[in-house]
């Protein structure tokens, strides 16, 4: 049976994500080194703590652990998350929080509740593909803004706003990943953070601040620079979302979004329609990990290990690839964003790289306007040190013809 005649706009437009396509390639070849998905390193998950906690939770003493729960999320987890946010400078109450199935769901719910087909949404030019898809599925007209070394280009922002207004569709929303941005690794400067808040207030635009990597800075002096925009904006203008996926484990699918309670009420309703509630066991595991200080205890080692992996990848790139790639060293997070030599296309390089046994995500996948073919994203977070070295050697071999041809 042919379903074509039954599909909605969303059904017709859904496309296979570039990241998933890379993931599929992995399955086909077991020895491949994957720099593609932004996966955390599973050897850093607090397995022992989680096993102990799970053993206690599943004693059967507390029925709610495996029962349906409130759509807004487990109450003690919301309370504990309030504390975690306070440590980031964000003062909210539990009423202003919704627990979500990953930040992916937070962005998707925001898109559904806020974006009407045709609404203009601004993003960084090069941003997380999952968010692009969520906004696209809501019918957003996406406009990408160039990212400079210190974050989004504010002149381009003004211009995009004026163009949208002139086109009769004022900008509704600006989506940002200020800390160690996915995919560029950029840290938005403190000056630009302040100016973006003022800009959004003046132009009556909402900001969605997506912050999965903020805690994963590589040097303590960087920490103050990761202060969320939301910490300095109490008007409801900035909606903030973050997750336990990168500081605990993504398989638990526990994240949250904070906004004024009126908006949280709408998001909660949309969540109820999307999947009723988050997993009870997952939420209790995240809550207990917070309450027992597991996350606080593991964070310093996560920072040290991911910094070490960044160093290993950069050293290998310097040694094996040299000036054939250009990149800025990320001060946190999971990603190195590299510019290709003149005349080298991301998709062609990927084909050669896969033949050599290494994958990454093509830069163009992150560009809403189809540009970015001279860039690639390399994730250093998951592979071991040896595999990083091996993968970069393979990437170097894949790059050779392009370098020769340029």
């Amino acid at each position: 049976m042919d379903y074509e005649r039954f599909y909605s706009r969303v059904g017709r437009q859904v496309r296979e994500s570039a990241i998933r396509r890379m993931g599929a390639a992995d399955d086909d070849r077991r020895d491949v080194v994957s720099f593609a998905p932004g996966y955390p390193d599973p050897t850093l998950f607090p397995w022992d703590d989680l096993r102990d906690i799970a053993g206690q939770l599943l004693s059967g003493q507390e029925p709610s652990i495996l029962q349906y729960g409130p759509p807004r999320g487990l109450a003690p987890l919301r309370e504990a998350t309030v504390g975690l946010l306070a440590a980031r400078g964000i003062a909210v109450t539990a009423d202003e929080l919704l627990i979500t199935t990953g930040t992916q769901q937070a962005v998707d719910l925001l898109a559904r509740v806020l974006v009407e087909p045709g609404d203009v949404v601004l993003t960084e030019l090069a941003t997380f593909t999952g968010s692009l898809t969520a906004f696209r599925n809501a019918g957003a007209e996406l406009v990408g803004l160039p990212v400079e070394h210190d974050g989004i280009d504010l002149d381009a922002l003004d211009l995009a706003w004026s163009c949208a207004l002139a086109g009769g569709r004022p900008v509704k929303l600006l989506y940002l990943i200020p800390n160690f941005q996915n995919p560029t690794g950029t840290l938005l400067s403190r000056d630009k953070r302040a100016r973006l808040i003022a800009w959004a207030e003046y132009h009556d635009v909402l900001i969605v601040e997506d912050d999965p990597y903020g805690s994963l800075y590589f040097d303590d002096e960087t920490a103050p620079d990761t202060r969320p925009l939301r910490a300095d904006c109490d008007t409801g203008r900035v909606i903030y979302t973050s997750s336990f996926s990168k500081v605990l484990a993504p398989g638990l699918r526990v994240a949250w979004v904070t906004a004024p309670s009126a908006l949280i009420d709408r998001l909660e309703n949309a969540k109820q329609s999307a999947d009723l509630t988050c997993g009870g066991l997952d939420q209790h595991l995240a809550y207990e990990a917070l309450r027992r200080g597991v996350i606080d205890r593991v964070l310093p080692s996560l920072r040290a290990r991911y910094r070490s992996k960044r160093d290993i990848m950069e050293a290998a790139m310097c040694r094996e690839i040299g000036e054939r790639l250009a990149w800025g060293s990320p001060r946190g997070g999971f990603f190195i964003w590299a510019r290709l030599p003149h005349g080298c296309m991301d998709v062609e390089l990927l084909t050669r790289a896969q033949a050599e046994g290494v994958t990454f995500v093509v830069g163009s996948a992150f560009h809403v306007d189809g540009s970015g073919h001279d860039t690639i994203r390399l994730s250093f977070s998951e592979p071991s040190a040896d595999r990083i070295d091996e993968g970069i050697r393979r990437l170097s071999r894949a790059l050779t013809p392009a370098a020769a041809g340029s």
Copy 2:
């Protein structure tokens, strides 16, 4: 800050679910007996098995358990679900399955991928509110069809189809809960199942068959009557969704939808945008519970215990309430659907019932056309025998004034 000017159509229309409102009432009064939510009995969850399995899974030997996983779902779980479906008479391959975050997500994804704003979707008149909301959020024009003792009224179905066509909007989809329907408890007859398949083929309408309760029949002779429509329709016309929530535990949020792989591809893409992937630990727990035969082992006791609870509730209703309520005895599932005495309104009864310390869901909440104020849904699945007795005594007191006034 006032968000009103920012909301999309979905954001403006989301409403607080009646079930959630009942749930909130529970929180306010601790001694309340709740017949409101369709929760399974947590004392029947296989706690010991799940604790053992979780202890083994969290040994740290298998990184994928807490890692991001494939959007389509854990491969061994999909394979095992194929086997579970075969036992229900449904022959599919793992390619034709998507693991979802509850059947709520399956229905929501189907609504997003198939329903364009204005499309006509037919439902039973009195159906699961969560599905109504999902279709409404997709912009469906919902038309409810009366339910007879043996299921949906086929004459009304023909009429609704003709009316929709005459209005220039042919019916796209029929949403059904054939087994122990929520909220009416109705079992769709075998004759009507066959006629509905033929009807859908002839009129080129898709059927979404939602089957959370099919395994929870109360007498073995009922089992053949629960055979899914999908088992007798291999054309792709019937899309089937079911869950581990009622046979294992809902806190795991693991369900599935089966359809031809072309449609599953679209649903998978939509899922990736909705929440990337289901929980890794939850999926592994469900898989191991299937593989080790835990579900097969607990099913007979679930059937016996829920049947016993139905009997206890009906006995209490006969004893305490008598002819002031009329109901049909359900042959499986979680719900008794009761008709109120003449002149008694569901919402007014609920107010009095809450004052007496008992809650239920008003029948009108399940009616897409706002009717049904002479009905209520009583869930017997979660409360203990004593609490069922106590709750029905309280309900009887709440009913008295209405009975006197009628």
